[in-house]
Homo-oligomer: 216 residues x 2
């Protein structure tokens, strides 16, 4: 409705841009399933177009793949999570529960998990960047907030051992997604419960394991 208001010469171009987006989004589905080694012809068939058409939208297969990475890796993180994790008006326990439920809702899909692991095995740079993001924006923050909640004013950065423990917790939760979407093994249906138990273990454990860190 109302497509021809005034002169909007970008209409054509916008449609072209939309087409591109559509290609990328279906390419994500396709590569997630078949792996990045699969051929452009099969991808084209999946898209319902001929193979040379892809080269009108992307200079090469590699460029297309890079766009797939970009979209997958960058579109899932919600800025509000940065706020949530540091919102000291909410008890840390509740913050973490809410965060991990939302975070796993975002990444526990067959698509995201498979693209993530495929790219991890390829060793592409964006994968390492993402691991760094988890490290800084999730785990270090959690450990910092834990100290603050325990009464420390200017908490020191967490030790390597503490950080490792946070990684074990995070990895344990992440591996739930791997089992479900990669191995396709039955898992406990109640994801919230799993998160809750994992967080209980972690928060209780870290308090016991590093009691000195809290009082100084």
């Amino acid at each position: 409705m109302d497509q021809q208001t005034k002169n909007t010469p970008r209409k054509k171009r916008l449609s072209s841009e939309e087409r591109r987006k559509e290609f990328i989004s279906k390419a994500i589905e396709f590569f997630a399933e078949e792996g990045f080694e699969s051929s452009t012809r099969e991808l084209a068939r999946y898209l319902g177009v001929t193979q040379p058409l892809l080269y009108r939208y992307f200079p090469s297969k590699d460029d297309l793949i890079k766009e797939v990475y970009q979209t997958v890796y960058l579109s899932r993180w919600q800025e509000e999570w940065d706020v949530l994790l540091c919102d000291r008006s909410i008890p840390l326990r509740a913050r973490l529960q809410e965060f991990y439920e939302a975070y796993t809702d975002a990444i526990f899909t067959r698509e995201w998990m498979r693209i993530f692991l495929f790219s991890g095995l390829k060793g592409v740079e964006i994968n390492r960047w993402y691991v760094g993001l988890v490290n800084e924006r999730i785990l270090n923050r959690i450990l910092n907030e834990f100290r603050v909640e325990a009464g420390q004013k200017n908490p020191k950065p967490p030790s390597a051992q503490e950080l490792e423990l946070a990684w074990v917790m995070h990895g344990g939760i992440f591996y739930y997604g791997v089992r479900k979407h990669i191995y396709e093994t039955p898992v406990l249906e109640d994801k919230s419960r799993m998160i809750s138990d994992a967080l209980d273990l972690f928060l209780k454990g870290i308090g016991d394991a590093f009691p000195t860190g809290l009082k100084e």
Copy 2:
């Protein structure tokens, strides 16, 4: 030395079998690095032979890959671990520490980890079989032994929730290997410490979370 003792007509054949084994073992290195989509020609170059020679030893590329799976998946598990995990003359905590140190020594290699994930993404049957092995021979056993040590005579099988918690612990430890050998991210150097902390969290946590399960 001493190669021609008596008449050992199997010597030729043995040598042929050895060659085969050698091919498989180097194919493991190769495919772990390059992925199973890589070509037989590149594999042959890696082996220092020509490509058609491979077809004297293996009917097809797929057969070779299957042998790679077999070797990787079946050669690492030590029968003695089955004994160790159920050896009630040793405290469970010590059993678990010893087991996980040995187990991770066996599987935390770039080779094993990459082959495992590659095959997991392909969804091959042997991968699911292995996940089942972890479930029955490690996690269910641990939970059972925990109840026995807590005084139960004929422990019921663990609940799905308990099992999930064990998976989170196991997955957390496993993910340490993924981070180290797949993502190649720095991890806490002291693997034993990581295991120890992870086990502390788990054993303490499971005792607190399921106290009723222990007394009935």
